[in-house]
């Protein structure tokens, strides 16, 4: 691991200048401009995608299958030719470069390890093609890093899924690419192994400091591993930002539903002040901070995360000044242990989800009980009414 830190491109003298002069960072990292992929059958997989990935960052492209995330990755790798747009890496245009000419390596879905070569030769493959000296020592160090030093002379088929995954990672990482691409690398692993590999990959990324671009449909995986998450839908990036920012302040119903779970309630905008927008929600007035309003229309979806909703008996005072909605009836209670999930039918017929932490400070409610819901205004968000309230629902789950 120390080996990588010493030789890693991120430690070059030019890098310090790059991070200082904000704008120079783009010339240093990966930049996609107007990237489009249209297949001969007329299907547009990626549509005018703009993306900037600073060097050394860990970005996840997150979206349901068919959203264009893998196509984007394959265009960066050079395995797919863009119909339009450019790809710039470390200041040079690589849009039309052949895959073997790009300083980019990929961890393939299902690994694509060479079955006829042993682990050592699989990892050494890239170094040998570039006629690098000192292959032996570098491969040994890399196998140490992924804890496979004792398996060097085995064939890929003799290793477990998790070990093969680490070989695939080592085989790409050893070349110290400008960008490491990970195409659903954990999809074939079971849940427990996937969780530990997520942390492992994150640890390695921080150690080697290379730029990682990770494609996944698993929102939890994206949020755990990446500094920046770009949520993709139908060939475009819906929203991009730090995981917490995306989760707390989604800009579209798709992001609100795909990333976690949201209650979306139809409302009419009553007034727009400088810092707060007031919305009438089926006769109840609620307010939403202007920074969290993402529509100009007269109507909108008021969004609130289930864990931000407080539940209390009728007339009970709740710690959520501003937005209180009376008249709810509990229709379903599922006790999960750390929390309880309530379904509450509102006077206008809609069922809202409420996550209540089992802190012991509040009592449990039973099915049929009348309750009041409330939330702090700063947690609500307001979305465009023209977007489907069901966009992104169900797609966030595993295939």
């Amino acid at each position: 691991m120390s080996l990588l830190a010493e030789n890693g491109p991120q430690n070059g003298p030019d890098n310090a200048a790059g991070t200082d002069a904000g704008g120079a960072a783009s010339a240093d990292g990966l930049r996609l401009a107007g990237l489009t992929k249209r297949y001969p059958n007329g299907f547009t997989a990626v549509q005018g995608l703009d993306l900037e990935v600073p060097r050394g960052s860990f970005i996840a492209l997150l979206g349901p299958s068919g959203c264009g995330k893998t196509t984007t990755l394959r265009m960066v790798a050079g395995l797919e030719r863009p119909t339009a747009g450019t790809i710039t890496l470390a200041g040079s245009d690589i849009t039309h470069a052949k895959p073997h000419q790009r300083p980019v390596n990929t961890v393939f879905q299902n690994y694509a390890l060479f079955p006829h070569l042993d682990i050592f030769e699989n990892v050494a493959f890239g170094l040998r093609r570039r006629k690098v000296k000192d292959v032996e020592a570098q491969v040994r160090d890399m196998l140490d890093l992924v804890e496979l030093d004792t398996q060097a002379r085995k064939r890929p088929a003799q290793l477990s899924g998790g070990q093969q995954q680490r070989v695939a990672l080592a085989r790409a990482l050893i070349n110290q690419p400008e960008v490491l691409l990970l195409d659903e690398p954990l999809g074939a692993l079971d849940l427990k192994l996937r969780r530990s590999m997520q942390l492992e990959i994150k640890r390695i990324q921080m150690e080697v400091g290379l730029t990682f671009m990770h494609v996944t449909h698993d929102q939890e995986e994206a949020m755990t591993m990446a500094d920046t998450v770009a949520v993709m839908n139908a060939g475009v990036i819906e929203q991009m930002g730090a995981p917490s920012e995306l989760y707390e302040n989604p800009r579209s119903t798709f992001v609100a539903n795909f990333l976690g779970q949201s209650n979306l309630i139809e409302g009419t905008v009553l007034s727009r002040a400088a810092d707060v927008v007031t919305v009438d929600m089926h006769g109840v007035q609620v307010s939403v901070p202007t920074a969290r309003v993402h529509t100009d229309g007269d109507r909108g979806w008021v969004g609130i995360r289930p864990e931000k909703v407080l539940i209390g008996g009728e007339g009970e005072a709740l710690d959520a000044p501003g937005n209180t909605i009376p008249g709810g009836v509990v229709t379903d209670v599922s006790f999960v242990g750390v929390s309880t999930l309530y379904q509450v039918r509102m006077p206008w017929g809609q069922e809202l989800a409420v996550f209540s932490q089992n802190t012991g400070r509040t009592r449990m409610f039973r099915t049929g009980e009348r309750v009041e819901l409330s939330w702090r205004p700063e947690y609500a968000f307001l979305l465009d009414i023209h977007q489907s309230a069901a966009a992104g629902v169900e797609q966030g789950d595993d295939d």
Binding site: A77, L79, K98, P99, H100, F108, N110, A112, R129, N175
Partner: protein, 286 residues
């Protein structure tokens, strides 16, 4: 495997009966009869009958008399196999990787010649390569052949005929092997700095070796024993061992000589195959 051995009881042996019978009737008995015939006294005949004299001298005699046709057989078969490998690999590769929805149609076309008889196909090559055929005329016209040169009755015609007739035996195993290669492995090699040329020799070629080995064996073995191509496309100067065996059995009525030639041919081919398979390092793949 160990578990299988332990579990194998009477049922296991019972299930082996059909295969064992098949081998006995169609391999062991004919082979025994052939080897026995090769040791008969060559002075006998079909009418008088032969005496079993353990006449090992037969082998030395035929090797001395017919070593040239032996060498010719192996040489022609090797050349034809090489041509088949080059043509067949390109064809199989294209069908497996580039044909898309035409894959099955192309495979049918590869075996389509089998719908006509081997003899008829070889005879039609006689017409194509004949002295007044358009191939010879065209080649003479562009001065690739002299005015007196011919194609028929030359080694080239025999090798071409062999290559034509046995190409499907090469293409099908090659296709089976290449078709199994995950195209993502080729992508992975290009991702790891291998240009298409290097990627082919480091990934595609080694992974297709099982097909190469079985394809060359399926082509070489029948081609080495073939005499139809030499009969129709060659002259008496290009007699191969198959012609000799056929002549001894049918025309000269000398069964012991023909049998010892057959056994020798078989031994030579088995020895070559063993060396080849070991050299190719593909025992595990066969």
């Amino acid at each position: 495997m160990a578990a299988g051995v332990r579990r194998r009881g009477k049922v296991g042996y019972l299930l082996m009966v059909p295969a064992t019978l098949w081998l006995l009737v169609f391999f062991v008995v004919p082979f025994y009869s052939l080897v026995a015939t090769s040791l008969f006294d060559p002075s006998g005949s079909d009418f008088r009958g032969y005496d079993m004299t353990y006449h090992w001298q037969n082998y030395a005699d035929v090797l001395q008399a017919y070593w040239r046709p032996f060498l010719r057989s192996i040489w022609y078969a090797a050349l034809a196999t090489l041509i088949c490998l080059v043509l067949g690999y390109v064809l199989a590769y294209a069908i497996a990787f580039k044909a898309g929805r035409w894959k099955n149609l192309l495979l049918v076309l590869v075996i389509a010649p089998f719908f006509t008889s081997f003899l008829v196909r070889t005879l039609s090559w006689q017409l194509i390569l004949s002295d007044h055929g358009w191939v010879v005329r065209s080649l003479q016209f562009v001065h690739l052949l002299g005015p007196e040169d011919r194609l028929l009755a030359t080694p080239a015609a025999i090798v071409a005929g062999l290559a034509y007739n046995f190409l499907p035996f090469m293409v099908l195993p090659l296709f089976a092997s290449i078709d199994k290669i995950d195209p993502r492995l080729v992508e992975a090699s290009s991702d790891l700095y291998a240009n298409p040329f290097v990627g082919f020799f480091k990934v595609t070629w080694p992974l297709s070796l099982p097909g190469v080995v079985s394809g060359t064996l399926l082509t070489f073995i029948p081609a080495a024993g073939d005499y139809i191509n030499a009969e129709f496309l060659g002259s008496t100067n290009q007699r191969v061992i198959g012609n000799v065996i056929q002549g001894q059995f049918v025309d000269a009525n000398n069964a012991p000589v023909a049998a010892s030639l057959s056994v020798l041919l078989m031994l030579i081919i088995v020895a070559m195959v063993l060396v080849y398979v070991r050299r190719a390092g593909t025992e595990e793949l066969l």
